[in-house]
Symmetry: C2
């Protein structure tokens, strides 16, 4: 049976399939830090038809399929399965069209996000999706996981950039729905079912993305606020004053800010005095002077009201970059901290202050030598917390830390994943964020679309056979 | 059997159910102009639990259920079925919460859109969804049909305003998913399946809506352009220069503009000379002077480039209103034209000019006395065309006109409905806009969620029993 399957796969896919030890190691896992798995076969199709052929065969033989994009996921969603097929979209990497009148871009799933951004800018437009892994991650993975990133407060999650999709269903059916129009109410909007489903319902092969006008000017400000409630007042004023011009509102707790500026020699503290909490604001405007004036007025008022204790409006691009450097140093804490447990929880904004306080206190109480850093996209209700217990060395108590953090999040009505997704790592905790009725409905959808359960099985939730 | 059902319904719903001739006439049809139908029963629940009880009973007895909101739909989606139950959400009309920190609003499905808008403004915020029927339509209907309207170019369709939903499934299961967070990637995003499905998968009972900052200043301009291609150049410049400040770009062809200004005495022509096509632009800004300056610069350049032949920047609110009055006179063409066939098609923007030309010419050729008016939300690729054949009197050739228009739309890769939905009226033509694979997937979803086919059967597409 298995050898029949392999023979058929080879016959259909030819040199675009590899087996066992011929499969390069980079396809064995993703950025989640989970152990490697060597799948039965790796298929790297060049066309949607080849994706369809592969799924049809796998469905017939009931062989699990794990779709792979740039493999930058942090939740293990793209880790292959022993005895299964890994299907990488990396060779489907053409930018098929940029339509400057409709302000759309049609891409194959394997196009790196960074390449799509550059192509849009080259055409005088702008792709509003951005994340740190931009040069490694690909559009198909961004959509399958509904990626978040740096500009969500203004442009929304990955989902909001999608106008049309082409998807291959588990039985091999190609559903081409490459809509370009902003408005289309002719029947069900099918794309949303696949976006954010982490490859468990089908494989995204092409997408039509919505592009934006290029922002003419971006201006930043850095603020020290006395405490969390005053920072919330600042957020409200920033929303009111800047409206859609507010493109970032990034918050750093002292735990994060002090650790980073204290340990990375290239970072410097912007203020002479410490503050209760730090905020980076970014505003987009049509005109550099107007944009700066708006920020000045916002900060002037906030300083007077006492919601901001000190503020910096950088006078050069270089100064602005040095302020952002602290926030962007997140890619380096791995080197500083060693093995860690990382979170991307979401919580109603007003509860985020107390949540951070109780998590930091509880972690410190349980592991007195713990290093825990808190920061987040507070404008989007998204909080990051990373934690290392130096005394635990390589044997970090991941499970215990995770349970501690997630229980606090659940008690405050939050979500265990705001942006990274559930994958394998967070699957045991999904019930903390979703009700039994919601989970039952997910199972209903999964079974309807994938009755044989071949699509990325074991990810997000378990779907027991009927 | 039927009497068992009615007895049970009465026992469970008491005075919140009415039968046969006791059902007020306004629940017999919607604004589609379709003939009235008296359903078996009308249920007007006050709570989600009552909605659940009703659906559970209907599912048990396999009685069709037609959900009803404000009954302002134009496609017949809320027209009840003989022998079925009409379920009106009109008594579930509480605004449950406005959260000014999260900028969200939690409402029951029966809240009128206008009331939600007012409540948001009262709280210092702004609901970005707006349409002509604002005081009659309700949020539940807006979401079930994914309504469009006046501000789509800036704030998106109804779908984009939704953060969380409570839905009752056909078997009575209540799925409460009242998420308030902008980012939540914990499992499938279930709400999108129900939004825009026209009540065929479940009944929306509550929603969490995303609110916006109140725009500080709104400025308008009215332009006459030589022709369609020059108007497209103007759209591109407006997008580039105004970016997210561009809140409207409404186009009127001479067929519409001349008919309206010629027949409605309170409207006056803004220009002394006729132009090839007319555009209303609206921009939102933080500052009135800056906003006006941006528009002036845009128009100055366009006049110089020849993409605009003449332009008006109103100097008072009253003058601005008189310019918008022509566009907003759409509610009056019914009185001027008598019975008509109306369209809300979508087509890639660059094809809209040729599409209007070919439709207007073909209609005139087939019915020489035809009155056909073209206008649209061109920024959103959405085109309206309304048509009356005076010589046909009350017996308008709806079917023939519809087929003529839809065939042109399909040939250009457009959609037969950009905003009004499919309902009953456009069901026969859905295959023009969606592929067999897409339609098959819709059937798969429908059957999975509503195996007995009780939810708004016969609407959007036919779902034959298994």
């Amino acid at each position: 049976m298995a050898s029949d399957f392999l023979d058929s796969l080879k016959a259909e896919l030819g040199s675009d399939v590899a087996f066992g030890s011929d499969i390069p190691a980079r396809f064995h896992t993703d950025w989640s830090g989970m152990t490697s798995v060597v799948p039965l076969a790796l298929v790297r199709p060049r066309t949607t038809t080849q994706v369809s052929q592969t799924l049809k065969l796998c469905n017939q033989y009931k062989i699990p399929v794990t779709p792979q994009g740039g493999l930058t996921g942090l939740a293990g969603g793209a880790r292959p399965i022993e005895g299964g097929v890994a299907l990488s979209l990396d060779r489907m990497n053409a930018i098929e069209e940029i339509d400057t009148v409709m302000a759309t871009m049609t891409v194959q799933a394997g196009v790196p996000l960074g390449a799509a951004q550059k192509a849009a800018e080259h055409a005088g437009l702008f792709l509003g999706l951005d994340l740190g892994a931009r040069d490694s991650c690909v559009i198909g993975g961004n959509l399958a996981t509904n990626a978040g990133g740096n500009r969500v407060i203004r442009f929304g999650m990955a989902r909001e950039h999608v106008l049309g999709l082409e998807v291959v269903l588990p039985d091999g059916t190609i559903v081409t729905s490459l809509n370009k129009m902003l408005k289309n109410n002719a029947g069900y909007d099918l794309k949303h079912m696949f976006i954010g489903s982490e490859g468990t319902l089908g494989i995204i092969t092409r997408a039509v993305l919505r592009l934006q006008a290029k922002p003419a000017d971006l201006a930043s400000a850095f603020c020290g606020c006395p405490d969390f409630p005053s920072m919330l007042e600042l957020l409200k004023s920033a929303r009111q004053r800047l409206g859609s011009a507010l493109t970032s509102f990034e918050v750093m707790w002292p735990s994060f800010y002090d650790f980073m500026t204290g340990n990375l020699p290239h970072l410097r503290r912007a203020f002479t005095h410490p503050h209760g909490i730090y905020v980076l604001i970014e505003a987009a405007g049509r005109d550099a002077d107007d944009n700066r004036t708006s920020l000045e007025e916002l900060l002037g008022e906030a300083l007077e009201a006492g919601t901001v204790s000190d503020a910096i409006l950088p006078s050069s691009e270089r100064e602005a970059q040095s302020l952002w450097a602290v926030r962007e140093s997140v890619s380096e804490y791995g080197k500083l901290m060693g093995p860690m447990t990382a979170f991307d929880v979401g919580v109603p904004t007003s509860a985020a202050g107390e949540l951070v306080d109780e998590i930091e206190a509880a972690v410190q109480h349980r592991w007195p030598d713990a290093i825990g850093l808190s920061y987040g996209h507070i404008g989007d209700s998204n909080l990051h917390f990373v934690c290392n217990i130096p005394s635990a060395g390589q044997q970090q108590p991941h499970k215990e830390i995770t349970e501690l953090v997630f229980n606090f999040v659940a008690a405050r009505g939050g979500t265990i994943s705001a942006e990274h997704g559930i994958g394998l790592l967070k699957k045991p905790y999904l019930t903390l964020s979703r009700t039994p009725e919601e989970l039952a409905l997910m199972v209903t959808i999964k079974r309807a679309l994938d009755p044989n359960g071949i699509m990325n099985p074991g990810k997000v939730f378990d779907c027991p056979p009927l």
